[in-house]
């Protein structure tokens, strides 16, 4: 027992003050990992601010949209309400407290049936037989008995409601009081429609809410010059056409019509602008560059590799994360209002560092960094007998892959304005050009392998692309864009017979300068 204890303790003691210096790479990698983690935190923070900014923009757009499109989109309602409101404001003499006043008659609305028998009179002396029956009509009807209507017809109300919408009329306004059945029906119908068809003056006049009732009373206070022959007009039911009315040469042109005309003009102008915008930026070209990093998240080394050394090297190689950059030209066109198609040609470089623990040397005194390819070639049946793998202390090797990438992406414009946001997704055909293995060790030669049979990399590969493009129009023909995106190979970048599977996930951020042809 004592002997056993002594044995274990002696081991412990032997390692008590033991020290071995690690390579410089360890700290560099620790530092890189720490920076990556810090970057991740920063990314999360940035994402929060991005989301906050997006939410703010969305809210601002929604508010602007409601404020801007609201009155035009809901022409019937808001305008009718506005008209009614104006009338109400002007109806100093009348009030909504008299629920029985100015109702279109029993046929129009049963709720106001009680007022149907009221006599109509005008407080305005020049209009002794005005159309309405107001609450004070009783008293005034005595002064103007000749204009007392036996029963206020809907046409009375209609005329009251449209007093301001036609040219000035004479004081024989009420002479035109008729019990025209069509008119009555129209108003009755309108009144049943309540405010939904309230665009026309008639509609407004026939509106059945309290405000519209006061509007009738308002007619009683209108000036002479504002009055107009109501029944000279065709009373229409339903949504009126927003035909741009030409301003009448008279100084007392109908302000309502003018307003409607202005709105119609504005709407047309907006539609025209929209169409123009849609037509804009239908073809463009851009020059851009991108930089980022890649990481092989699901690399796999199969047992097909013949030696332990090539196996561990392969592990090192495929798991190495690295940096990537690309630059190139692209073209784009708009397929529809929101959809775009863009493609181009890019030079793509992916560079990573891995640690090798040996090198390959031949009888010509040429020494190369160990890579999966040259070790596998060494172990192949037709290998050159003079080449050998020599173990060494660990050293760093840079492996740089060059591709020509031909991307084709479809884009959806989430926001299409001076500042635009576009979501892109598509495919890229990657043509492998060459890889360059650059050892950091002294006396070791740089090696470049072109694509072809000897290369462990596939000559043609396909990658999926996805990204977002934030762009800002800086002139009539120019747009600058930042586009973060990811690239993921659809199959391993290594040939299938090598026994290595690696699909490096790339994240990069690009900067594009776009020239818009038209």
């Amino acid at each position: 027992m004592e002997r056993r204890k002594k044995f274990e303790e002696s081991f412990r003691d032997a390692f008590d003050d033991a020290e071995v210096s690690p390579s410089e790479n360890v700290w560099i990698n620790v530092e890189l990992d720490l920076e990556k983690a810090d970057g991740g935190k920063m990314k999360r923070r940035l994402l929060f601010y991005k989301l906050l900014a997006a939410a703010s923009v969305a809210f601002a757009l929604a508010v602007t949209g409601i404020a801007f499109y609201g009155p035009i989109g809901g022409q019937n309602g808001p305008l009718a309400e506005r008209k009614e409101h104006d009338n109400t404001a002007n109806s100093a003499g009348t009030n909504a407290d008299a629920p029985g006043t100015l109702t279109p008659g029993p046929a129009a609305n049963s709720s106001t049936a009680g007022s149907a028998s009221e006599t109509a009179s005008l407080p305005y002396p020049d209009h002794p037989a005005s159309a309405s029956s107001s609450s004070r009509a009783d008293t005034e009807s005595a002064a103007h008995p000749q204009v007392t209507a036996a029963a206020p017809s809907p046409s009375d109300i209609a005329s009251a409601g449209t007093l301001r919408s036609e040219a000035p009329t004479s004081n024989q306004y009420l002479a035109q009081h008729t019990h025209d059945k069509n008119t009555t029906r129209s108003i009755t119908d309108n009144s049943n429609n309540k405010k939904t068809d309230g665009i026309t003056a008639d509609g407004i006049a026939a509106g059945q809410d309290q405000n519209s009732e006061t509007a009738y009373g308002d007619a009683l206070l209108l000036k002479d010059s504002d009055l107009q022959p109501v029944f000279a007009r065709n009373i229409t039911i339903g949504k009126p056409e927003l035909t741009p009315a030409v301003a009448e040469p008279h100084s007392n042109a109908d302000p309502f019509k003018l307003m409607m005309a202005r709105l119609a003009d504005e709407e047309k102008a907006m539609q025209k602008d929209e169409k123009e915008n849609d037509r804009q930026e239908s073809l463009w070209t851009s020059v851009g560059m991108a930089a980022g990093g890649f990481n092989t998240v699901n690399g796999n080394v199969s047992s097909a590799l013949t030696t332990l050394s090539s196996n561990s090297l392969a592990n090192e190689q495929i798991k190495a994360s690295g940096v990537t950059y690309s630059f190139g030209l692209s073209m784009g066109t708009k397929l529809s209002k929101r959809w775009v198609l863009q493609g181009g040609v890019n030079y793509l470089n992916q560079s990573s560092d891995y640690t090798a623990t040996g090198f390959v040397g031949d009888s010509r005194q040429s020494f190369f960094a160990a890579s999966v390819n040259n070790i596998e070639q060494l172990n192949a049946a037709d290998a050159k007998q003079d080449a050998k793998y020599v173990p060494s202390t660990p050293y760093s090797v840079n492996n740089s892959l060059a591709f020509v990438s031909v991307p084709l992406q479809a884009g959806y414009l989430v926001l299409n304005n001076k500042f635009s946001i576009q979501l892109n997704a598509g495919l890229s055909t990657d043509l492998f050009l060459q890889n360059t293995v650059t050892p950091q060790g002294e006396g070791l030669k740089k090696e470049t392998q072109k694509s072809g049979d000897d290369s462990p990399y596939r000559t043609v590969n396909f990658s999926g692309l996805a990204g977002t493009e934030f762009s800002y129009k800086v002139g009539q023909h120019y747009r600058i864009a930042i586009n973060p995106g990811i690239r993921y190979p659809l199959n391993s970048i290594y040939k299938s017979d090598i026994g290595i599977e690696a699909t490096p996930l790339t994240f990069d951020v690009g900067l594009n300068f776009r020239y818009i042809f038209h």
Partner: protein
Amino acid sequence: MQNGRIIGFMLSEEELIDGCRKGDRSFQKALYDRYCRKMLVVCLRYSKSTAEAEDILQEAFVKVFHGIKNFRQESKLETWITRIMVNTALNVQRKKLYLYPMVDVEEINLPAGEVSISNIHFEQLLEMIQALPHGCQIVFNLFAIEGFSHKEIAEQLGISEGTSKSQFARAKSLLQQRLLKESTYYERYGEAKKI
């Protein structure tokens, strides 16, 4: 001192911890410089090669710098860092243990002679430990050097206590055999290792 290079040994443990807690890279480097050599030996004991050990060292130091905010200073900083190294190494080796599960070892041939290691350089001992089979290597380290009980080892590695004991016994036997055979190690030490 904040911006310049910090000489690690000039700083107290508390200063190092405070600096690292603030995320100051100079302090982190100073802490790394102070402990990296010792910790690499810990990592080497649990791995088969220097490259593997350096990977563990790197991963563990990143954990140290991330976790130092939570270090309550109830133990010495070195002890805490060592624990992180061991845990990181175990995490790495656990995957291998999954591939090569530990089983009870029945045949144990303990050498008859007395074996002394007092005159043997630690690097030779390290190589012997690295040459042990995976399971034996881990159990030997945890029991003989870290001082864990077999029960604790069994819990940590998800094996039975008996397996832990038998693995340790095998490790010990192999080491003693090797120590007896290679008593002239010093003469040969320094040759390039063969892969």
